[in-house]
Symmetry: C2
Subunit: 341 residues, 2 copies
């Protein structure tokens, strides 16, 4: 059955109607004017500054129309943009959705997409404030998230100093493993498969980021979106330092966690070093702050994985029985100009 | 010669380097953290709220790779997003640039694009604060602009009341005429052609918008991006009113302004009613405010074109010698789900 003919205003109404009834209301206080005008108006709390970030989520580059359920596309496009708010130690406020769709996708696909987006909006307390809609052959998504952070409390990438310990939250490489399994699947994968959960429905570490910023524990912080080897290089470059990472301290996926007969999958260590899309937090803290950094934060493990050094090289230390092998760690994570999905 | 191999970080450096030296510095005070971290930090002046707006600018939908010079693409993608700030009566602060490019366009095309973008940034005092870059076969642009407006002074679409006079700035239909001429041109058109100027290099009416908001003259306001017939319907719908427009009061392009032998071009009146991309301001004001609304604002003409009515219909009144012909005016402007470039 051909889809009902839509125009821009009818699609906007579909998005906005959902907004009134089902988008998160928690952040409404800060939103003086939402959908339906030329622009949205946002009022951060007194003593706070506004955080701004935007993220592409494009068919063919970031997701595949045939393999990724629209519900997961909706969830993930917001969740990954929120991860940048977590990385600054901020609190989400509202978001703008720019959506370009083929006309065939303005019916059921759009509804399921909005369903996933709405669940993420409620879960992470970030309300839809506006956006722009147009037509394209490919599905194109751009999400701008606006948040707030107490003035002077935002954690930047540039604050790491020699001697600081390096930490990551969660387990690294799970999302990349999920992507690899999804690519091998013949059809659209079940969104309930636990091995795919982190790839399809990532959770920005907002509570941890906020806590580390409020307690002034993190000296530098960013989220792991492209892979540890690429992202740590960015943090070190911004802080003008080097780093040494202990290979045996990396929180990898368990080999038993990967399905049998998948011999061509990267090793758990390579997944942890170079796998993208984890949206865990990478942060540094003074050595003296060690007792303040918990092993677990509200159920989420936190692992010390290395230390900041002077210089500019990033070294991977692999302890062997009688010596430690050192090798330079080059950025090998996700780069849209080198790799395709 | 094949373009030099680029990766995401090298492209970001190209954008950010320009930023340090040549982007507008005027708005830096409000920008606590710009390019180079997970997100930007924006501090509106005390007593002000943050304005947020985003806009697609996509190859094939909003511009044509072969016909639109990269310099004009750079200028226009920011200028049109700024028009939404003007429509709220706000002042620009900073913008986020989401850019997806084919690898072949990361050299000269990108440099010329950034040149036009930088000129608009300086002219309209809006500094680049961050963004996201990725690869695609098509050129995809999304711009989020962040501005500020004195709390409570933003002019919404919803404030028009029965009896208010309806005004537009500038001349309507010029940009559409420029587009039509460009489509007929065999090659990329000269960016100096005065008939194309408004289509290629629109100027958001920031000063007028701010003045109308500060003086509390405008009761409702929006920018004309899709065409008067479509945009006025949106303003009336938001205000729950109708309108009557005097056809003879529309500031149309002069027939002498269109080149000879272009018999298939729409009439000046149709260009004014339905042509998109003008980025003029459409606003309403109480009849009593008539003496406060100048005929010209800093050289920009302002025309009263009609009046707000009760009800919900929009009527075009065409005065004839012995009577006035009335007809319903349906939205006939730009709609990406109905038309293509």
């Amino acid at each position: 059955m051909p889809p009902k003919r839509q125009n821009e205003d009818s699609i906007l109404r579909k998005i906005a109607n959902g907004s009134r009834s089902s988008w998160s209301r928690a952040a409404r206080k800060s939103l003086a004017m939402g959908i339906g005008d030329d622009a949205a108006l946002f009022r951060p709390k007194p003593g706070h500054e506004t955080i701004l970030t935007c993220d592409w989520f494009l068919e063919g580059t970031h997701f595949l129309r045939e393999k990724h359920a629209p519900d997961a596309v909706g969830w993930k496009c917001l969740a990954r943009a929120l991860s940048d708010i977590a990385a600054m130690g901020g609190t989400p406020g509202c978001f703008l959705l720019s959506l370009a769709l083929p006309e065939t996708h303005t019916g059921r696909w759009l509804e399921q997409f909005l369903g996933g987006l709405r669940r993420a909006s409620r879960k992470f307390q970030c309300v839809l404030a506006g956006g722009d809609t147009t037509r394209q052959d490919k599905i194109l998504i751009n999400v701008t998230v606006v948040g707030e952070v107490r003035t002077g409390h935002a954690v930047l990438r540039s604050g790491a100093r020699k001697g600081d310990l390096i930490y990551v939250s969660g387990r690294l490489g799970e999302a990349e493993l999920g992507l690899q399994l999804l690519r091998r699947a013949k059809v659209s994968a079940s969104t309930n498969n636990p091995l795919l959960k982190k790839h399809l429905y990532p959770e920005p570490r907002l509570e941890l980021g906020r806590w580390l910023a409020e307690k002034k524990i993190a000296t530098a912080m960013m989220d792991l979106s492209d892979g540890l080897s690429s992202d740590l290089a960015r943090l070190c470059s911004a802080s003008r330092v080097g780093a040494v990472i202990r290979a045996d301290a990396l929180p990898c996926v368990k080999p038993s966690g990967t399905p049998g007969g998948s011999s061509k999958l990267p090793s758990p260590r390579d997944l942890a070093l170079h796998g993208g899309d984890d949206y865990e937090l990478l942060f540094t803290a003074r050595r003296g702050a060690l007792p303040s950094v918990p092993w677990k934060f509200r159920g989420l493990p936190i692992h010390p994985i290395g230390q900041i050094t002077s210089g500019s090289t990033i070294v991977l230390a692999e302890p062997r029985s009688t010596f430690t092998k050192l090798r330079a760690l080059s950025p090998g994570g996700w780069d849209p100009f080198r790799k395709r999905l």
